[in-house]
C-alpha cells in the first residue's frame, strides 16, 4: 500500500523534472578529524541523471558517502525529499529512499544471488518476490544464476547483483560509485546502457565515474570536483565542450 503510494508519487515527480530530490548545501565532511569536503553544493532533481567527475582524491566518492551517512558530518546540510538527512545512519537513509552501490566488495560473495537480493530488502517484513522478479527482468542473467554464489561470478555480473540489490527497495535515488571500475572495455558500454535503462524507469542517478567522458556523454548534468570543492557545474554536453574542463580534467 505504502509502496504503491510511493511509486505513484515518484511517477508524478518524474513528470515534473524540476522537483528537487536531493539538495546538498555548503557541505563540510570527512573522516574522523580529517576534512575532505569544503562547502560542496550539489542538486539532483527527481529522475535526473547526475555525474560527479574530477581527479583522484578530489572527494568524489566522499560526496556520495556523505549523502549516505558514511562520513563524519562537519557542517552544511543534506536535504532529501524536503527532509534533513545529514547525521542520519545508513539504515535510516535507506528507509528514506536512497540506494547505494559501493565501488569494491559490493556483493556478499558467500551468499547466492537470490540471497543477495533478499538482503537488499531486509528492512521489509516479507521477502518481496515481485521485487526480486522485477530485478530478474532487468538483469535476466541473474535469474539463470539465482542459486549461484555471488562470489563465483564475473565482475560484470557481480556489478549487476550489486545494482539489483540496491534497487530492491525501489529507491528514488541510486548512488553509484565507479560502476565501470575493473570491467573489461566491452562490458563498460553494457554497464552504461543498463544505468540508462534504470534511469529511464524513473530512478534518479548520482554517479561517480573515472570514465569521465563517457559518463558526461550519458548524464543530464555533471559536477567537476577538485580538492574537495566545486569547480564546474553544467549539463554533461556543455562540460564536454568546455575548453578549461577538457584541458584540466578530461586530458585534453
Amino acid at each position: 500500500m505504502a509502496t504503491e503510494q510511493a511509486a505513484e508519487e515518484r511517477d508524478a515527480d518524474s513528470l515534473n523534472t524540476d522537483t528537487e530530490l536531493l539538495e546538498v548545501r555548503n557541505l563540510d565532511a570527512g573522516y574522523g578529524d580529517l576534512q575532505i569536503l569544503t562547502a560542496v553544493d550539489l542538486d539532483v532533481t527527481a529522475g535526473e541523471y547526475v555525474t560527479i567527475v574530477g581527479p583522484n582524491g578530489a572527494g568524489k566518492s566522499t560526496v556520495m558517502k556523505s549523502v549516505f551517512g558514511l562520513t563524519t558530518y562537519m557542517g552544511g546540510s543534506v536535504v532529501f525529499n524536503d527532509e534533513k538527512i545529514h547525521g542520519f545512519k545508513p539504515d535510516e537513509i535507506i528507509h528514506k529512499g536512497i540506494g547505494y552501490v559501493p565501488q569494491n566488495d559490493n556483493v556478499f560473495g558467500t551468499l547466492t544471488v537470490r540471497e543477495n537480493l533478499e538482503m537488499g530488502a531486509y528492512i521489509l517484513d516479507e521477502v518481496p518476490e515481485d521485487r526480486i522478479e522485477l530485478q530478474f527482468d532487468r538483469f535476466p542473467v541473474l535469474r539463470e544464476r539465482q542459486n549461484q554464489k555471488a562470489g563465483t561470478m564475473s565482475g560484470g555480473q557481480r556489478q549487476m547483483v550489486a545494482m539489483a540489490r540496491a534497487l530492491m527497495l525501489d529507491p528514488d535515488l541510486l548512488l553509484l560509485d565507479e560502476p565501470s571500475a575493473g570491467l573489461a572495455p566491452d562490458l563498460v558500454q553494457e554497464m552504461f546502457d543498463r544505468i540508462d535503462r534504470i534511469n529511464n524507469d524513473g530512478t534518479a542517478i548520482l554517479m561517480v565515474e573515472q570514465n569521465a567522458k563517457e559518463a558526461l556523454r550519458r548524464c543530464d548534468r555533471g559536477y567537476v570536483l577538485a580538492q574537495g570543492e566545486n569547480r564546474y557545474m553544467d549539463t554533461g554536453r556543455a562540460l564536454l565542450d568546455n575548453e578549461d574542463v577538457r584541458q584540466q580534467f578530461l586530458g585534453g
Binding site: 549516505f68 545508513p90 539504515d91 556483493v107 558467500t110 551468499l111 538482503m119 537488499g120 528492512i123
Partner: protein, 378 residues
Amino acid sequence: MGVTESRRLDRHTIREQAPLILVGVFGALLLVDLLFRLAGVEIALTANRSFGGSLSAQRFGGMLWNGIVIGLIIGLAGIGLSMTYSILSFANFSHGDLLTSGAFAGWAASYVVAGFGVVSVGELLFVRAGGGAPFADEIGASIVQAPLSILVGMVVAAGVTILLALAIDRIVYKPMRGRGGISLLIASIGVALALRYIIQFMFGASNRGVVDTTDVRVDIAGLSVNLHEVTLVVAAVALMLGMHFMLQRTKLGKAMRAMADNQDLALVTGIPTERIVQATWVIGGGLAGVAGYLVVLDRGTIGFNLGWFLLLLIFAAVILGGIGSIYGAIAGGLLIGITYSVSLVWIPSDFNEAAAFALMILVLLLRPEGIFSGVSTA
C-alpha cells in the same frame, strides 16, 4: 633454459609435496596397524615393539563412539566461538567460561527440579558446593530418574548463558566495538578470569560428581549404551541441524552470513548490524551453555575450570575446521574428538590431548586456511 626451469619446477613441486607424502605414509601405517590389531595379527619387530596386536572391535567401537560424543560437544561449543569470531571479528577467550556458567546454572536448575522437597532449595542451588550432601543418587539426577530435570537444566543452561553473554556484550564489548580484534581479545581474557572466579566464589573450588549414573546403561540390540550419551548426541545433533536450518533458510540466518561475509556492505545494505550482533550472542551463548551442561552430563563431574580446560580443544577444532565456518567447527570438533579418543590405541591417556593438537598442526601445515574456510561462512 626451458629444460632447467621445468626441472627446477619438478624439484620444487616434489619438495612441496614431501610433507603430504610423509603424512600419507604415516597415516597409512597407522591404518594398517589398526586393521592388524582389529584382526588380531601381531608381527614382532624388536623385543618389546611390535606391529599390530589385538584390539577387540567392541573396544574400538567404544573408542569411536566416545570420540563422537566428545567431538559433538566440542563442535557445539565451537559453533558459538566461530560465529562470534566471524561476526564480531575477535577470538573470544571467555567462551570456555560461558560453558562453565551454563553448566552450573543448568545443573543448579536440574538439582532444584530433581531434589525439590528432598533437600532445601538453598543447598540444591549450589550444586554440592561443599562436596557433601545431597549426593547425586539421593535426588536421582539422571535422565532415567528425572528426565524433566535434565530437560529443564538444558533450557536454563541456555537461558542463563544467553543473558550473561548479552550483559557482558553490553558492559564490556559494545563500548569497544570497532577497536580491533586484539583489544577485544584481551578484554575477553579479563572477562574469562572474572567469570571463572565469580563461579568459584559462588559454587566452590571442588571438582565433584553431580550426575546419578544408576541404571543409565541399558542394552539396546545387544549393545550397551549410556542413555546420558544418547541424550547428548540427540541434543547436539538436533541443535546443529537447527543451526543449519536457521542459517540457510531464515532471514536472520542469511543476515548473519551476510554480516560475517562483509560488515561494511551489511551496513550499507540496511541490515541492522547491532541487532545481528545481539542475535549472535544469543545463539553463541545459548549453544555454549547447553554444551557446558552436556559436558557435565557426559563426564559426571562439575568444576569451576571445566570450560577453561576445554577452550583449547574448542579453539583447535574451530581453527582446524576453518575459523568462521560453523560447518568447519562441527567437522573440526568431530575430528578432534575422534583423534582424542582413538589415539588411545597407540598412546597412553596422558598424551591423547597432545595427539589432538598434533592433528591440528598437521592439518594447518597442509591447509593453512582450515578445512572449510571460504566455503561457507558463519
